[in-house]
Symmetry: C2
Subunit: 218 residues, 2 copies
């Protein structure tokens, strides 16, 4: 098994390489793990030694196959625990991240597979992020930012690209939680803000900044 710390680096590298195909830089990792670049360099050598990453000095890193598997497994655990905390223990979606951050390092495949079954094999966590299955497969849904939608288009809120507690609480206040149906009623040219109808009832305006971080299935 890998140490707690190694796991956090693998997860950080995985998240940083999501989307872009480029190698991840030392500074990006330092930022994400709240450490210094020098510490990251040390750890990169260690992870490269263990064949979890491809590392060329000054050129950044990518995960190897083994590295991706390890990272995906941690993410699977994190997201299943989040579902448990919300569905079974009654936590709110903005309260679960830090606890899941600890629980994700518990080492037992049996435990996590039984937890998966106990929860009914959920496909997404409380923020809409997909949960890898026990073979590591992730089913990505086609999601669109509200900020990329056109007037008249409709969809269902199904994810967020900003996971901070402040943002999640705001969405709750706005009535824009997962599953909410929206229709774009108007795009305000002046500041890019967006008017929309929520659940066929409420009319609301949200800033472009907020709209960029809400993901919708059309």
């Amino acid at each position: 098994m890998h140490s707690f710390t190694e796991e956090n680096y693998l997860k950080a590298i995985y998240h940083l390489s999501e989307g872009n195909t480029m190698a991840v830089s030392t500074n990006q990792i330092a930022e994400m793990t709240s450490t210094k670049a020098a510490s990251v360099t040390d750890m990169l050598k260690k992870l490269a030694e263990k064949k979890l990453i491809n590392y060329i000095k000054y050129q950044g890193v990518t995960l190897t196959g083994t590295g991706v598997n390890a990272a995906v497994n941690i993410i699977r655990k994190h997201r299943l625990w989040e579902v448990f905390l919300v569905e079974k223990l009654g936590f709110k979606w903005d309260e679960v991240h830090d606890i899941a951050e600890e629980l994700e390092h518990i080492n037992s495949e049996t435990l996590i597979n039984r937890l998966d079954d106990f929860l009914g094999n959920p496909v997404a966590d409380p923020h809409g992020d997909p949960i890898p299955d026990r073979s590591g497969l992730i089913k990505h849904k086609k999601l669109v930012k509200i900020s990329d939608m056109q007037t008249g288009e409709s969809g269902t809120v199904s994810g967020v690209s900003e996971h901070s507690s402040v943002f999640l609480k705001l969405l709750e206040k706005l009535g824009l939680t997962l599953g909410t149906k929206i229709i774009i009623s108007e795009l305000i040219e002046f500041d890019g803000s967006i008017m929309l109808t929520i659940d066929q009832k409420t009319e609301r305006t949200i800033s472009r900044e907020v709209a960029k971080n809400i993901l919708v299935i059309l």
Copy 2:
């Protein structure tokens, strides 16, 4: 908060001082934590510095009030997680110790109190050990070893003083799990083994060694 390692030392000291009022020795702790005496001495200095233990060179240690609170809290977490694993995830009583050993270090009072409620505020773990309540109070039941019972006495199996997987599996095979009603039918003078009736049906003989580790409520 205390480190993972500090917590394990506190727990070890707590368990070693259960029952006997004496101070706990360096070697006992080394044995229980699978470390060397020299390492223990180092850690004792640190825990004494933090006022979690009373430590006098060469005289062994006792926990301070703060130390006891910390230890009891870890034990509360361990036992609640064990209940979760057995009651909700379908683990057997001999499979949960190692996983709970990891889970007991997760730091969130809210989490553990919600888990407690989710489980219906159980008073004992799957091995019959009492679960401290959220204020740290432990309700000890009056338990008697089968080996201390007399012919004709009856009781209900309610705990074990040996927690190894081998022993627990044996009890299962013998039909001597928690809640089982027993009556002592005969004490064999030759080797101290004990004949008993299980659930008014089965007659069985168990060795003194086994009998010493089964605890009963009369």
